[in-house]
């Protein structure tokens, strides 16, 4: 892994070295946040959008472009304020974002648990959830900064490979007619689904957590482009689901774990199966870790305290709930996350000192 204390090229000044470190750090943050966004959108599709909107889900995702860029650029502007988290509104905003990120972690964990239960139905769900949460513990006592960000760059590879292997085998099984009727149950449902999915946009908050880009417009634009690429990836996923599955089939009641593995029924390739399952599990694990890491960073910024491992206990409540209730809780959390994000951004915009 690249260490932030070692530069790739020869530098002549302290400022150039600092700029290189910040650029490398931003690159890691951008990759991690893009993966986190894709994972949350995928969870949104499987827990809510497929059931509520069905085949036009890709249109709901397309409508997220504007709110995504708005949230990202608002964060970029707000992050330029010094002493952002020291004011009372800043601290309140931090708490709102921590709840939002906890909801992200809960969603990713629910998705991952659902997938594991689908693959291993004979095993105890509580033990499996505990095992997953234990994977997150080393994050809280990490030695190397930005380890997760560095790992994110590497984890993009299995996901792209999975898509390359799955697509050619699955496309002959689909039909263009499955994309119709274009509006499904009407434009109102598509719009409402899109509004609901605004709760998945918390990964766009990362400019508040990374070191400020120091008015570097190029870094700010690249970050947004990567997030838009993640949204586009989710759009392609939803479009593929619509192409492969008829309207009523996609909307039927089904466990979220089975929805995560929808494409596997359309592909006979064992390699595609392996890549997809491994890629998705890693993706959801990274999303879970990212949410916890960002909560930890925020808690440090507002209270100068580390996140205690016991703070992960509420996530275990997931394994005590039956699957239908987990799904209802996640669906309830979607608009709550969007509300918390909005409140947090408003509080931050009035807190901190202006330059």
């Amino acid at each position: 892994m690249n260490s932030l204390h070692q530069t790739k090229t020869s530098v002549h000044t302290e400022k150039a070295r600092e700029n290189q470190r910040q650029a490398a750090q931003m690159k890691g943050w951008v990759a991690l946040s893009s993966l986190h966004l894709y994972a949350q959108l995928l969870c949104g599709l499987c827990f809510f959008l497929y059931r509520y909107v069905s085949t036009p889900s890709y249109l709901s995702l397309l409508l997220l472009l504007l709110p995504l860029t708005a949230v990202y650029y608002a964060c970029c502007r707000i992050s330029l304020k010094p002493l952002l988290w020291h004011s009372f509104p800043g601290k309140c905003a931090g708490i709102a974002f921590i709840f939002c990120l906890y909801a992200d972690a809960f969603t990713a964990l629910a998705g991952l648990s659902g997938m594991v239960q689908e693959l291993l139905p004979d095993y105890n769900s509580l033990l499996m959830t505990i095992a997953i949460v234990l994977c997150v513990l080393p994050l809280l006592k990490r030695r190397q900064q930005n380890a997760l960000q560095n790992l994110a760059l590497l984890l993009c590879i299995p996901l792209f490979l999975a898509l390359l292997f799955v697509l050619p085998g699955s496309i002959p099984q689909g039909s263009g007619g499955n994309l119709f009727p274009l509006l499904g149950q009407g434009g109102g449902r598509i719009l409402w689904g899109s509004l609901w999915m605004c709760g998945c946009l918390s990964p766009a908050l990362f400019p508040l957590l990374a070191h400020p880009p120091e008015k570097n417009g190029l870094l700010a634009r690249n970050g947004c482009l990567h997030l838009i690429a993640a949204l586009f990836f989710a759009f392609v996923t939803a479009l593929m689901a619509a192409y492969l599955m008829p309207f009523y089939f996609l909307a039927r009641p089904e466990s979220p774990g089975a929805r995560f593995m929808l494409f596997l029924d359309t592909n006979t390739s064992l390699l595609a199966w392996s890549l997809t399952v491994c890629g998705m599990m890693l993706l959801l694990l990274v999303s879970l870790c990212c949410a916890i890491e960002e909560s930890s960073i925020l808690l440090w910024r507002i209270t100068k305290k580390q996140l205690h491992p016991l703070a992960l206990l509420p996530l275990l409540s997931l394994s005590l709930m039956p699957s239908p209730i987990v799904e209802e809780v996640i669906c309830f959390l979607f608009p709550l996350r969007a509300l918390l994000m909005g409140v947090g951004l408003i509080l931050l915009s009035i807190g901190g000192k202006r330059i």
Binding site: L154, I157, G177, F180, P181, D265, W273, S274, L275
Partner: protein, 379 residues
């Protein structure tokens, strides 16, 4: 160095697909499954699993088992519904059943004609670790007899035998290519109706009396080889159940129109062989609410001595009549196998408008217009 280790660990994850929580000897790998409706209303579930290689004598039927000389065990149980029949089978087999290697699900024609057919398919696909790429076969007669009759006449493994046999017939166009996953997705949920593979056990050794020897169903093929369990033809579905069957010839013609196969050999009225090649899948169109039109572009290579080529216009009329007859048969069975529904749904913006259109009723009554563009070549 650390990056290389992480990449290596990630690549090792690809090998996990072969892992199982129990040893091979601790479970029974189901290769084929069969479902029958009994006369008393009960349901019989049959599974074929690799048994001991020494073979053995037949045991009495009922909730029992039978060995065949090729080392496969046929187990069956009868209950009231699918779930309790499965429980009974699990209770009476010496090992747990693993459905991850199922290559074929055989359902009797009687059972497939019931309203609960699509629900049965979903129950089958929901079995733990079920191989949803298994072929769905609708059997004329008893599925138990079909599964018992199946043996690997070529090669050693039954799974490989079934896989390659079905692939061979699918490439020739005599059976459709439909997996359990696809059947579940499209039966009752989609805009197009799937065709399922038709199977049967040949009983009669007499030659086929039809003028067109291909125009028969699976069970009517002569029993002139050791392999009496045949795949030939298709079962049509109407969104709820299996509504009828198609012969091998009709299935091959439909596959040619769909573009699933590239060629079809048939014999014209004078007894001359014709090889038909489809330049592209048939182009479908819907005229208003009352007509379905197919534009078919075919090349025909005639195996005639020179100077005796058939009349192109008469051959075109013959092919148009054949294709129209097949479509009318599909209409009578309420089966939209070609995908007119997928075409019609594009005219609507919402599902409510589509449902108000009542496509299936209009489809069954629509006039069929077939236009064949034929290029005739001498061999």
């Amino acid at each position: 160095m650390r990056k290389s280790c992480v990449i290596l660990l990630l690549l090792c994850c690809l090998l996990l697909s072969g892992c199982m929580s129990s040893q091979v000897e601790e479970q029974l790998l189901v290769i084929a499954m069969g479902l029958d409706r009994e006369q008393n209303g009960g349901l019989t579930l049959t599974v074929k699993v690799p048994g001991n290689a020494a073979g053995g004598q037949s045991a009495p039927s009922g909730n029992g088992q039978e060995n065949d000389p090729k080392g496969y065990l046929t187990l069956h149980a009868t209950g009231h519904h699918f779930s309790d029949t499965l429980e009974l089978l699990l209770a009476t087999t010496p090992r747990s059943l693993n459905f991850s290697q199922v290559w074929e699900v055989v359902i009797s024609r009687d059972l497939a004609g019931e309203d609960s057919f699509s629900q049965l398919l979903m129950q089958l696909s929901a079995l733990p670790r079920m191989h949803t790429q298994a072929a769905v076969v609708i059997c004329e007669g008893k599925a138990l007899s079909f599964v018992q009759e199946q043996k690997p006449y070529v090669g050693v493994r039954l799974s490989r035998y079934i896989e390659v046999t079905l692939r061979n017939y699918t490439q020739k166009g005599f059976v459709p290519s439909t997996t359990l996953a696809r059947a579940v997705r499209e039966t009752g949920w989609g805009w197009q109706d799937p065709l399922l593979i038709l199977g049967g056990v040949s009983q009669d050794e007499k030659a086929i009396a039809n003028e067109n020897v291909l125009d028969v169903a699976a069970g009517q093929l002569p029993a002139d080889s050791p392999n009496k369990a045949r795949f030939y033809g298709a079962a049509a579905t109407d969104g709820i159940r299996v509504s009828g069957t198609l012969t091998g010839y009709e299935t091959a013609l439909i596959n040619l129109l769909r573009g699933s196969t590239q060629s079809l050999i048939l014999t014209d009225a004078q007894g001359f062989p014709l090889t038909l090649y489809a330049a592209a899948p048939a182009r479908l169109s819907i005229g208003g609410e009352a007509s379905l039109t197919l534009h078919v572009h075919l090349r025909c290579q005639a195996g005639f001595p020179s100077g005796r080529l058939p009349d192109e216009s008469r051959l075109t009329a013959y092919l148009e009549e054949e294709i129209t007859n097949v479509i009318r048969k599909l209409q009578s069975l309420r089966c939209d196998a070609l995908g007119f529904g997928s075409l019609a749904v594009r005219r609507f913006c919402t599902v409510k408008e589509w449902e108000a259109f009542h496509f299936r009723d209009k489809y069954t009554k629509a006039q069929v217009v077939t236009k064949v563009q034929l290029q005739l070549k001498e061999e």
